[in-house]
Symmetry: C2
Subunit: 185 residues, 2 copies
Amino acid sequence: MPRAGLTQARVVDVAIALVDERGLAALTLAAVAQRCGVAAPSLYKHVSNIADLRTLVGVRVLQEMTGELATAISGRSGADAVASLMWAYRDYVTEHPARYAAMPVDPLHQPQFAKAGWRMLEVIQAALRPWGLDEPNLIHAIRAARVIVHGFASLEAAGGFGLPHGLDETFERVIRMFLATLPEL
Amino acid sequence: MPRAGLTQARVVDVAIALVDERGLAALTLAAVAQRCGVAAPSLYKHVSNIADLRTLVGVRVLQEMTGELATAISGRSGADAVASLMWAYRDYVTEHPARYAAMPVDPLHQPQFAKAGWRMLEVIQAALRPWGLDEPNLIHAIRAARVIVHGFASLEAAGGFGLPHGLDETFERVIRMFLATLPEL
DNA sequence: AGGGTTAGCTATTGCGATTAGCATAAAAGC
DNA sequence: GCTTTTATGCTAATCGCAATAGCTAACCCT
């Protein structure tokens, strides 16, 4: 009986593919095992349980998205960088709507997510740096940015907008709305 | 063996209490049955299955929230009404954080939710009426309002904001941000 | 080649959802 | 009031998924 050559990373790959295709609710150990060509209990050699697998998927998504955001702001600054960041956030979600549901909403409070969560926060902070906001104003600005970007993304990913008609325009407007609240540069 | 006197409405009451206390993930037929003092299969006399129960809970929450929103704008108009509406939305969520997760994000597309969903939409439209926006602008405005209010509420309900310090101030700012994008009255 | 480690397997348990079929309480008809 | 009907709750049983225990064989290293 030959080995399947699984690793934790491969299991997570398969899990993400499954989520992409059938939604987050379809992420079960049984389904992942089947796709890996392995019996379900075998997966326990690579992940400790289903909660662990979900966490690993979440971390992956968070990291992947952070990478996209970092790329989006590189070489840009000011309003240009912020707009690019917000578009990259939305783009990630429209490209992988099901994955977004796997991303933790409060990464900073869960040890497994903390590192990846802080990295994303740093990227956002970097984009806002040119404004030189003091501590409380920076916090409000980051919160507002998250509200907009997460609100839009989660509604869109869940099909909450009804007709997709003119969604790009709506997104453009909320970005302008946000930028308008930042002191002029 | 005396009857428990269950009705669909009572089952939903119990389900909501369960969600409030232990979170949406704890909503199982087994747990509801136990709280009703009844064997699990007995619940099938009142709901068709677990998905049905979840839907019924979602409809309840949607209706309840719509009621709060309607109350919040009654007797007000213009920016006052909109701000009151948005605060009422957030207040509902902070008072019943777990319930919010039971509310459908795209009510208009699911027959069971459509009626309650349209009612909520009407309330929001009513608040925006004084601006006399034309069709496309009204759509953008409603979307933006939902993005803000849902983004904030879902982040807060999920503990996504870290320190709750200054959250009221943040919310006030995003409301002002939204109102500023509406043409002056 | 041999010994330890590791990846996979089968068997089993437990829990929740769901269905089938039974019994009786409650309501409706006479 | 008594019968008939309906509806509510029950037990028993099945299915799917998570999880654990214990076995075996593949891989790695010397």
